[in-house]
Symmetry: C2
Subunit: 352 residues, 2 copies
């Protein structure tokens, strides 16, 4: 568990894109983002108060979060100087960089001397069990995509926010580095050893009240040959009651795989449901979340209306329209209790 609130370290970010982790944290957790720390030449700006270390400490910040990535994901000497000072000031440090904090002897030594924590969110901190497949109480929703990076994390967090605003019990369950830094907790699923992937997903989505929803961050895609095993572990370990199908309609091929076309939303629905019903025979695909960032407002609305008619499910861009209709789509889900009477048959065909 990473202590909040955060001071967001933007370093010497050459542009806004380099600080997209900080942007995600600031967008989704402005309440825990007390300020930003910028070095000379920093070109990113979260619109948060610029603070020095002592000032941020006085404002209550507990963890310095590295919200910036430079080329190669390394920790530069210039950064390291600031990080050492932060530890000495009493901060914990959290990072999703490839270059681990724990691989820097100086940081490890200073952290130890100061009694501070170093959080490398790329490294699993828990010994996860092998999945037992036992049916859990509470309800779970999983975002699955036609491809990687189509808006699965955004969709799940937007739904959590909407549900909490409605007074519902809901927790976003982070499964990737940025999600973990946003929430302070979760599993870096792509870094877990194969045998324990599904067990890790079970671990972060435990038994809960019957009206509690986990909004599970998806990873990869069942149709992305590099990462589909990770997705599969989410589909089975997560035991979802509801799937949200996520799509980005302007992709010309699977991310990083120029030879591979995207599947249709129908293919995603049928394949994901068939597999999800192995773990939860009551699972339903309830809605579609489309990332329409490359469309004009008019194009987006036309496209969404077309998808909605074709698929017979609500189709929404939560960034443009909010997540209300995605959350409404969960209303019909009765969850596990209602499914007890159903045969537990993985061969059950999707309805649609």
């Amino acid at each position: 568990m990473i202590q909040t609130p955060y001071l967001l370290f933007l370093g010497d970010a050459p542009d806004a894109l380099a600080a997209k982790v900080a942007q995600g944290i600031k967008d989704w957790r402005p309440d825990v983002s007390v300020g930003q720390y910028r070095m000379e030449g920093c070109k990113a700006d979260m619109g948060l108060p610029d603070m020095g270390l002592a000032e941020a400490k006085a404002a209550g910040a507990k963890t310095l979060v590295i919200g910036v990535a430079n080329r190669g994901g390394i920790i530069s000497p210039a950064w390291k100087k600031v990080l050492v000072m932060a530890l000495e000031e009493g901060f914990d440090i959290a990072s999703g960089l490839h270059n681990l904090l724990h691989d820097e002897p100086e940081l490890v030594a200073v952290a130890k001397a100061c009694g501070s924590e170093l959080h490398d969110v790329r490294v699993p901190e828990v010994e996860y069990p092998i999945a037992n497949g036992r049916r859990r109480t509470g309800k779970r929703c999983l975002a699955v995509g036609t491809d990687c990076s189509v808006g699965k994390m955004y969709t799940a967090i937007a739904m959590e926010r909407e549900m909490r605003e409605r007074g519902m019990q809901a927790d976003f369950r982070a499964t990737g580095q940025t999600g973990i830094l946003i929430t302070g907790d979760g599993v870096p699923l792509d870094a877990v050893v194969a045998d324990f992937m599904a067990g890790a997903v079970e671990y972060i989505t435990p038994d809960a009240d019957e009206d509690h929803w986990d909004l599970i961050e998806g990873q990869g895609s069942l149709f992305h040959v590099s990462y589909s095993g990770v997705t599969m572990a989410l589909v089975h370990g997560g035991q979802p009651d509801a799937l949200i199908l996520c799509h980005e309609p302007t992709r010309t091929h699977m991310r990083g795989l120029p030879e591979y076309q995207l599947p249709t939303l129908e293919a995603l629905r049928d394949t994901a449901l068939t597999l999800a019903r192995v773990g939860n025979p009551a699972c339903e695909a309830v809605a579609i979340s489309v990332n329409t960032q490359h469309f004009s407002e008019g194009e987006a609305l036309t496209y969404l209306a077309g998808v909605e008619a074709e698929m017979g499910l609500p189709a929404v861009d939560p960034f443009r329209q909010g997540a209300a209709r995605l959350v409404d789509a969960l209303d019909g889900i009765k969850g596990r209790g209602a499914a007890v009477a159903m045969a537990h048959d993985p061969a059950i065909a999707p309805d649609a």
Copy 2:
């Protein structure tokens, strides 16, 4: 790469079952099994010549393979004495135990002093890449199962042997501990970090001659919620041209998961083909391998005939009947070259 030939270490095995790794090696690689080393009280016997260390060394043995597991998978003090002597005698040691050779300081020190190798086949020895999905030359066959431990390894090795006897180019590709000890090479897929699983499968099934077949050892099952992510990585990383469907008809539930029923062979075929065709649109399910060990000869033949009629595919128990008809079933597979004209569309439905 583990050096052959082997001296099989049976230790103080309390019964034959405790030495099943040695049994697998002796059954499949009698040519590299020069002898067995038994300690006092050993109740297992591979029918190989009993040898001391010096004698086995003189007979050409290069690696002492731990072919026995005691309760907890640990290395007992009594064993360790023999292992140290073996290193001093110039042997390498290979082990698939949970208790790693490398976690025993004495073994590490002696191996270093003697210039010998310790092989822990539970630990990946290669930094595998992330899968790139690039189409590879040569042909690949993957065994997929309705459940774990239904005979996928046995099927793949039996096919390799049959193909080599026919003068075909064929390599069994091990993906589990026993398979690696049998062949001396492979990937312990369940111990690979999630992001690199499919890349590891690509790595062990590289470009090859157009008439070369990789026989890829399957792991887990797409319908086994604990391990399906590992299976998924094989289906996508392996780019199989042909699938062999493996089944054990007397299972009453999924292995280790009492709440879960086995899928039908039809469900396995349809789901595995849909997913395999993402990576290789030409993939076909060509035959069925049934483990009929719990049936009488008559029951087995009746069952196999029934499955064959129902599925329209050859159904064989390779242990009873040999793998000839499984290999024959590969004849019709034209491989990647012939598939170039096909649309690369993951939504293509299975034929059957």
